[in-house]
Symmetry: C3
Amino acid sequence: MKSETSTFQITPSERFAWVDLTDDLRRAIKDSGVTNGMAVAYCRHTTCALLINEWEDGAMSDFRQRLEAIVPDDIYYAHDDMERRTQNLQESHERQNGHAHVKLMLLGATSHSIPVAAGEPMFGRWQRLLLVELDEPKEREIVFHVFGE
Amino acid sequence: MKSETSTFQITPSERFAWVDLTDDLRRAIKDSGVTNGMAVAYCRHTTCALLINEWEDGAMSDFRQRLEAIVPDDIYYAHDDMERRTQNLQESHERQNGHAHVKLMLLGATSHSIPVAAGEPMFGRWQRLLLVELDEPKEREIVFHVFGE
Amino acid sequence: MKSETSTFQITPSERFAWVDLTDDLRRAIKDSGVTNGMAVAYCRHTTCALLINEWEDGAMSDFRQRLEAIVPDDIYYAHDDMERRTQNLQESHERQNGHAHVKLMLLGATSHSIPVAAGEPMFGRWQRLLLVELDEPKEREIVFHVFGE
């Protein structure tokens, strides 16, 4: 059995930027030498999400529309209320990103487990591994853990 | 350590048809010979979901009501706008399934990881592994990856 | 390769109580002796969820507000309609928890897969493993499966 963990950084360009991580995952599987087993894709953040879906601009824009309708930016977020908040305060300045925390909690999309066969992730025809930035952009760290034979 | 991957096909009968995959998962675990370890259930599609919940007609119908309220069928989807769309077009005809892509992205429910003990998935009393079809029905492919001792 | 499964019980204090399971997961990893590999956190229930996000009272309260707006308590749930329901009925009394089933199905948050390095879960700076009770409180069972080298 082989077991390999790799980490890499990306910086999305703006809020609701999408990054296609499919080829990065493929490379991590190749580099691990695993031909049959599984891969975990893991996002180390609380305001951006990993999704498995189609890379098609329309569908990605439709998703944004709906998610922003369900979790609007312009309502009150206790997370952003500096009169009230006492926990986890940053010295410099605190981002107004309560909406992004709520979005990620609703999506619940921090990790995915993907079977691997013949050295490839067993994605269906239209599936891609996508990161979507829900907050103001900053450097993000993704972990791939691959194991098997 | 044993590691086994199996794939099977099902065709849901209609939109929002539910398929109980619990016994299929149990069989895949038995066939793998794994008694203690874990199982991954993976759906190779972008418009149907895997959920772990109770098989009860009322709850499944309640879920449909809410999901359709949050992601209505009868609004504009850029994914379905053939005047605008340029990517991933099919030769024959393109399904009007923008709503189903958005639904799955909100659910984020493409894979589940389930511990295995004594040759059984460690489901709680009411838990079942369910596939829910969000699109017009077609053949769907599910992968089970089981590994452990 | 080591592989270890542990189960423990908690009883949240009330509906929408949050329980921080991060230290329990850390302990399970230490006890397993695994230094590099992965961990699965699995919730054996159909009306409470596991989330990975920040422990900050404001963000948790914001999440509750939004989730209750999307899935209100005070609408009709077929799951709770004893005139209509025939499946899975309990002898004593049946909880009115249709809303909680729908909430968990929308969240899709029953399991998480978390890479492990140097004997620690690879959480980002603000990530914590959180259980959120969506139903009336009762004893809940969580499983951690850890494996690797």
